[in-house]
Symmetry: C2
Subunit: 717 residues, 2 copies
């Protein structure tokens, strides 16, 4: 144990001192790690390789979540994970037709199933708009003005880009405020399900084996993008490798990592450890308990809650790992050292006494930045203290944790659209800017089914969690529990009343209210609309407070930190993840556990059958009937999953794993638990990402599934 | 919904105004509800009936939990619930021999299995010692002195009683400090398992149906008390009724309800709602998630964690119901009204202006008590504010929530015994008083198995919960995570180190350390002993703070409230439950749900088979093989479980349910969810306790189990 600690600490320190030796980094496509790849792997990252990787990579957005994928044919076919596809597959299922559990394959294109609200994005280009964004924010502006000015200029840039190119245009904040880049995406909203295996083999081992290795999961699914009712033309795609990767191969991961916190200050990480993570875990455990209890009542309820339960349990496990990481003295010690290291390096040439330094700051930008770093680090610490005073209320009422139901989020959007749309785009809450309206409405009017009993259970749990956090006397409880209107109810009774009387399950009613604008919303007696209206003033107040007391000051402070970092260390450290396209690289290799045990770089089909047998075929170790019946058809030595040292995080699910030739050799789907700490530090001591081997997919499709046309499309054979 | 609220509110108010009409009350055996029974049911509660009920009722204590039971033969045979027996049955199980899941029956007495640490108590007599206790506490004592004086006099009374009678002697605090009674018990520590059914039928419906009705559970188990290696002679026992109860029958419940909070002030209940219950639920959800994850890893791990998981899930569901109750405006409104009502009644004859009242207080005890009531209610409110400042730390470090493992509680007892035993009994922490030492050591040296991997999982979860609540910078974390000694570890690593290196799994090592006293403990390098020592100063400080800032002042305030209550309302309200013998009564009847649906007063065997079939025999709705195979042997119309309006709470599990003749017609095992609010208010609107029908037990034993000797012992046939 101690040996591992020390090794981890060294590697963590290596982040700043010896980047070249590690495989750290989720790199920007427009600032790729050419030197690192040449130095460590002798690989020449060409423009053509990069261009194909960018145009063949896919970002999925649906149901508030998202993931990654990659085109694998010129006809719009793309691969992702089964667990990324789950949201759509679940929405395509109905009582008695459980595609999520039982799988699906469309033998012909006519049979491909259109997803109710799945949008995919394909990055086309990136432009640096840092100067334009920063120019709009004057140094003497108060935080509220600065926030408004920044929001306005970002909306303006996006709107102009959309009008000019017709592409989805998002301004992305990098280095927590150090850079602003404009991302332009081609967008598809007609996406159809082609193939999805049974949940029992896609997620073999379930929550038990999530974030563990060895793994044996067929965690893949295939969709097809359509344009104008026809399969999209996608000349940039990844060729499916028949061979897959070998041990010690260099591989690349091209996907959309969601969020990391590696460049956050120590004070910010301590705030996460002592405040945000405990709150988050308490919330997830509350929801998980409620969903589990609901699931156990009846097989159909189990079906309804399956994907909610999976995502909550997955998040609970990921955040638990993060908390263990931040409670690990080795990790925190390394973060502290790294912070001190940056401060020392940034101020290295200045041996003058502190008091006289301001006189030097204008002469040399490096000196100025080094000096500003002290204040910025302190400022971030001070912001955390301010944030703690209202973080829970903000999360509960504005981020919506108190109202864990799409019925509420729908109601809130309807209420806010009525208030926001009459304003100029630049002045609106950011999600209602013109350039985002199409995507928002696509999701808002989704015909995906809603199950009232499930929503009652979720809402009961989250309303109860609200009461637990704010206390029964908090003024907002009068509104939320209806004490101000009808004498009130406890959370369970309130959830019952809200869900059984709202009409928002019907997309036509949502559309009627949105189209009817403020008048229609004001006249609505829908209890969910009334609730969303009743808490809106308080929620908006918390949002403004967050923007002006936390978000804007943090951006400024981090911009100063980034400035010092760039001038001192250059861009040798990639920005934290932002759910935008990144390129990671690593080596395919196993790792040691315990004194004498080494886990190999890949598992096999045979091991899946062995584990099924050893654990009595009991859920979640129950291979599907098709696999048990077809066992003899399969080569048990077929590689199933493999691991590499490449740097990934949540959001990378479904990411193509590529070889030097740019062929797809795997589909990333998980990290092991040693990798959970990667939110804060990169390490390759035991930490690995896990991918489905390209050969496993072909072997299963050829031998077990009646999917010859799909195999032909992937391989030409 | 509203109708029910109003009805509930009326009933709640009825508590003080119209006690005679409701079945409220867990009555003291020495102050039984003779008048209520005569008035409402025309039943004459004779001394002989009461004496038999008292001497045939059993209290079970094991593994930190407990329950109720009743002798059912003159040879020491007693019945309780399967879920009360679970702790012992689990401890008698081993890998490969799962008595908890698979059941057990000893055909001959030789085969009865001795439980490692089950103690049972049979109440022999009660004496009122209020005057003696109060005389020891002088009005001018400071809280710390008063607490010490009260503790000393209680220890003295208990010790003298033990020396005089040889009986276990406990001074019990009633009405939160209004009365002190001395309870004398006959104690048995040689208790053997006779019969336990399969978990799947004992707990049919599992967590899903826990606190629900209709229910179909064979939640019974039989033990036999032994004395001097022979079956105990128990001339007082309950005859087993072949017929069981009919609809509208009067029934009695004689058992040991654990705790209720009905006499607490409104401020205390709000503190529970906004502070204690949210904390408790967060803790239980944390433990439940950890135990579930552990269970799912392997069938053997599932077996190991089964009873921990059941008790945590059961508590989570009970406390969730309590929280919904305290968030119900109707309940809180009723509590407020009841408090105002008491204040008004207590001060009714005093029409003089407030300012002049103190002049009157010495003339009339009723006036004095009425006047003191104001201050006492305010004092309880003020105490809650003080408590909030350290309640979590107290619960985590002193109550031991941070260290959820018998290995830690064993270590703590060993460390504290070494410090406490040299002191005079009256000065020790209360659990180490002379009169309690035998029971403590019986539990401490238990040979029950301990599973290291399970303890690691539990300790990881609870250490993490500690960090979540106190934050990583809290000084105690340095000690708990070993940062002060070896550089530290995160909770998972720390739990691994503690459990894998402690020797306290071995009862001989525990005994060696206890026998070796302070010297042996000081020399021990056992990491669990070192941990218990390292946190002891802080834990004791929190305990003292609790005793002097909360416990003692609350006792005084509640004594004043009780005084006013007695003088105004008499003892028309029973004291809150204290895990001592109480008598409740009620009517066997079903209840309405929804507009037109009525649930009958009993369920049948047939319904169990129907539910099994309807839910596909999927756990927890999977009747055992014996039942499925033997279905045709059973009369499907056999009553299985029944409900009555009698007043019960947790701790009543296993309570005998008796008819007018004092025969056992059922074994209480649960409340429905409407009854969860009974911690705070009694209601019979839908709220019911649930019992196994006496006929169901006989039918199952006769037709399915090879248990003829047991049937003969119960029925003489």
């Amino acid at each position: 144990m101690k040996r591992t600690h020390a090794a981890l600490a060294l590697l963590v320190l290596g982040v700043t001192a010896m980047t070249a030796v590690s495989d750290e980094g989720m790199w920007l496509p427009n600032d790729p790690p050419r030197e690192q790849l040449r130095a460590k792997y002798g690989f020449d990252l060409t423009d053509a390789w990069l261009k194909n990787a960018m145009l063949a990579s896919v970002r999925l957005i649906s149901g508030g979540g998202g993931g990654s994928g990659g085109f694998v044919s010129p006809d719009g076919l793309f691969v992702t994970n089964h667990h990324v596809a789950a949201d759509s597959v679940q929405k395509l299922s109905t009582p008695g037709l459980d595609l999520y559990a039982d799988g699906f394959y469309a033998v012909t294109r006519d049979g491909e199933l259109k997803c109710p609200d799945l949008e995919i994005n394909v990055l086309q280009e990136i432009a640096d708009v840092t100067a334009e964004v920063n120019a709009a924010v004057k140094p003497d502006m108060k935080p509220a003005e600065a926030f408004a000015a920044r929001r306005a200029v970002m909306s303006k840039i996006e709107k102009e880009s959309l009008d000019k190119t017709g592409l989805r245009s998002d301004v992305v904040t990098l280095y927590n405020g150090g850079l602003y880049h404009l991302y332009r995406y081609k967008k598809y909203t007609d996406v159809r399900l082609v193939f999805s295996p049974e949940k029992a083999v896609a997620g073999f081992g379930g929550d038990v084996d999530n974030f563990e290795y060895p793994r044996m999961n067929l965690d893949v699914a295939f969709f097809r993008a359509y344009e104008d009712g026809k399969p999209a033309r996608t000349p940039h795609f990844f060729r499916w490798s028949e061979a897959g990767p070998k041990e010690n191969d260099l591989v690349f991961v091209t996907g959309h990592p969601g969020t990391t916190q590696r460049l956050e200050t120590l004070a910010r990480l301590k705030h996460r450890r002592d405040f945000t993570l405990p709150y988050t875990l308490a919330r997830l455990r509350t929801l998980e308990a409620a969903l589990l209890q609901y699931s156990e009542q009846h097989p159909e309820k189990r079906r309804q809650a399956a994907t909610d339960l999976h995502s909550v349990a997955n998040a609970r496990k990921a955040f638990s790992g993060q908390l263990q990481g931040l409670l690990d003295p080795a990790v925190m010690w390394a973060k502290r050292e790294a912070e001190i290291d940056l401060v020392l390096k940034a101020n290295a040439p200045l041996n003058e006494p502190f008091e006289t330094r301001p006189h030097f700051t204008d002469k040399n930008p490096r000196q100025k930045a080094g000096w500003a770093l002290f204040g910025a680090i302190e400022e971030v610490a001070a912001i955390q203290k301010k944030y703690a005073a209202f973080e829970k209320e903000h999360a509960l009422l504005e981020a919506g944790h108190a109202f864990f139901s799409p019925l509420f989020s729908t109601a809130r959007h309807i209420v806010r659209l009525a208030d926001e749309l009459p304003k100029p785009s630049a002045d609106r809450l950011r999600e209602y800017r013109d350039s985002n309206l199409d995507s928002l409405k696509f999701s808002l009017f989704s015909p995906a089914p809603i199950y009232p009993e499930l929503e009652k259970a979720k809402l009961t749990a989250s309303l109860t969690f609200l009461a637990e956090n704010l206390g029964g006397e908090h003024p907002v409880m009068d509104v939320v529990l209806g004490r101000d209107v009808f004498g009130g109810a406890n959370p369970a009774q309130r959830a019952e009343g809200l869900v059984s009387r709202t009409k928002l399950s019907d997309p036509a009613e949502r559309k009627r209210l949105v189209d009817g604008g403020k008048k229609a919303v004001d006249e609505s007696k829908d209890p969910m609309i009334l609730l969303a209206k009743a808490v809106d003033a308080e929620a908006r107040k918390l949002r403004t407070r967050y923007e002006t007391e936390v978000e804007e000051p943090e951006r400024r402070a981090y911009a100063a930190i980034a400035e010092a970092r760039f001038l001192t260390l250059g861009k040798s450290v990639a920005p934290d993840a932002t759910f935008t396209l990144r390129l990671a690289f690593g080596t395919v290799k196993g790792y040691e556990v315990g004194r004498d045990e080494k886990l190999p770089f890949h598992t096999t089909f045979g091991q899946a059958f062995e584990k099924h047998a050893a654990l009595g075929g009991r859920e979640p170790f129950d291979l599907p009937k098709r696999w048990l019946d077809g066992k003899d058809k399969l080569d048990p030595a077929t590689p199933f999953n493999f691991v590499s040292t490449a740097d990934t995080i949540g959001g990378n699910s479904g990411s193509p794993v590529l070889n030097r030739a740019g062929e797809l050799v795997g589909v990333n789907f998980d990290r092991n638990r040693h990798g959970l700490v990667r939110n804060f530090v990169y390490t390759d001591v035991q930490a690995r990402h896990i991918a489905v081997h390209s050969r496993a997919v072909l072997e299963a499709l050829r031998k077990l599934y009646p999917a010859a046309p799909l195999v032909k499309e992937l391989t030409g054979k």
